[in-house]
Amino acid sequence: MIPILRQIFRTGIVSEPLPPADEALRAATQRLSAAITEHLGRALVIRHVDAGSCNACELEIHALGNPYYNIEAAGIKFAASPRHADMLLVTGPVAKNMEVALKRAYDAMPEPKLVVAAGDCGCTGGIFGESYACCGRVANVLPVDVSIPGCPPTPLQLIEGILAAISPGTTLSTSRSIDRSTMSAPGSNG
């Protein structure tokens, strides 16, 4: 126990402030009214579905949970069941073999529901495109609220997109600072 506590102590709190929402990532129609987004606030529950990614997009979603991004501290968590989720976060192009499962997950979510397409593949079909085996971008299968480009999008880009989906378009109802200048450079992924 002592070494564990010592290690925790030595590490300290490394969490960094969250970036602001990137409103530019929002699709033309925001389906949630300002009233609802205000109500949702920042207590957001996400169900992630990998619809056919190369698996690097998942690595960045995992990274959201590491102590640096610490997304749970912002009130955002990932749920096992789509029935508990406000948002469907979809990675990859939609593989034909995943089309039915993805639609079922979406149908199982309670209204109102948000869909965020993550990564170049989710946004456009990416390098895999459309074919006998692939439906291409997520919007070909589900209504998409926010698309986050990047291959894969960095954790910061993911947060900016996720926040865009739940921000009423005005100032964020957040108690955490949104000053990005203090962040160490996590770099970009093209």
């Binding site: 056919g52 990614s53 190369c54 690097a56 590491n66 102590p67 995943m98 895999f128 992924n189």
Partner: protein, 526 residues
Amino acid sequence: MSETAQFFDLPITFTRQPEHVFPAWEAEADEAALEEFCIAAHRAGRRLVALWGCDKRDRQPDVPARGFALHVALDLAEGLACLTLPMDACAPRFPDLAPIFPSAGRLQRAVRDMIGAEPVSSEYPTDLRPWLRHANWPADYFPLRHDTPDASFPAQNETYGFVRVDGDGVHEVAVGPIHAGVIEPGHFRFSAMGERVLRLEERLGWKHKGIERRFVGMALAEGARLAGRVSGDTTVAYAWAYSQAAEAIAGVTPPARAIWLRALLLERERIANHLGDLGGMANDVAFSFGLMQFSRLKEDWLRLNARLFGHRYLMDRIVPGGIAIDLSASGAAELIEQCDTIQREVRALKAIYDEHAGLQDRFLTTGHLAPERARQLGTIGLVGRASDQHWDLRVDHPCAPYDELETRVATHANGDVAARALVRFAELNESLHLIRKILSGMPSGDIRCDVRSAPERRGFGWIEGWRGDVLVMVETGLDGKIRRCHCHDPSWHNWIALEHAAIDNIVPDFPVINKSFNLSYAGPDL
């Protein structure tokens, strides 16, 4: 004259392929000779690397006996040996190799789905269930035949013939394709008695997105990006293997500095994944401290990747002809410094893991894959090494710079979750050591040369990625564009081992067993 050889005293004459940076041999065989050779290779303790099919009907339209080809790649002591079996244009068939190499079964089913060639056996029942096809396109739509047009079909529900376990009190637990966490999709069908797993059957292929068909017609340089996205967590190994194949086709050798930088990136990729897995395995036994600590280290690791190489996962850094980005002297110093920090931190965390009774209790004896079973199944890579299977290309067939690095292979004989954790710790250390060696031996000079495609060539690339060996085969057509590209993920071999490792464990231990294997879904699904 090119070099020729025969192996296992069998009358098949192999020709050594020029321009490859590891020994690559090719030969043609008929059905009986192919089967005989595979049996001899298996007896000699060698293994199947990959098998795939090609449509050749446009090559010699007047010779129907050579309409299709099956390629079988084996790992021999002398290098990579690729056997080609010509198949009939109207009724392509090949001998069922699954009785010799168990992992051939699913590969053969994929060949059948993709080009419509049938595995046949006179002695054993052959598994003819579809693998990559999930009823979402017709059974007679063969995506890798050249005359198959682009098409799209409505998605459907598949009824799949899972093997049923009968008996009093036996029940099935069906999991997936969508799992509880942030993880790739796959379906696991457990037959359990109470909590005890009697049998696990996997149904994969959910992520199949037609990558092999996508390759067709691409320029040689263009294909590297796609190969680097077959399995994103292994992007360095795939990009390097693809580049080796492309360079063999073009007949060029990249500058020495580029090769050393590639090895640097490959070892960095190995460490990034091991850091992630060591945290993930602890998390699956409710020791979230481990996840937090290791994911912090992994993030540090990725951030330095982004800063020095421009991409957190190093995608598109390795390109045919060399490497896309050079390393400065100050960058090299930062890498060394980071190696020291990570080594110190990992040592402290390992001591905590070693001493943690709860974690050890859950790790030890869980998900046991006995060395003998691993040998029978042809288990490779990290999982194989944790079950005493000493395969590692960095030592077995080292290409530059590994021929100068003297990699020490980490192995363990226990074959349980604990052994797979220990092998990761040992490999992490060894890779840190290799990175220091690479940085001190790094030659100076150019980092890239021109790669000009050549028509009608075949090239192979073979790299020990962090999960095991990745094989890439590229064939060019008359126009020098890609005619066929097959990317083989090591997970093909190890998924079947996971089915065995789960037996007799309790269902709730499956997540940590699965995590300790951490196989790719995207890679084999293609």
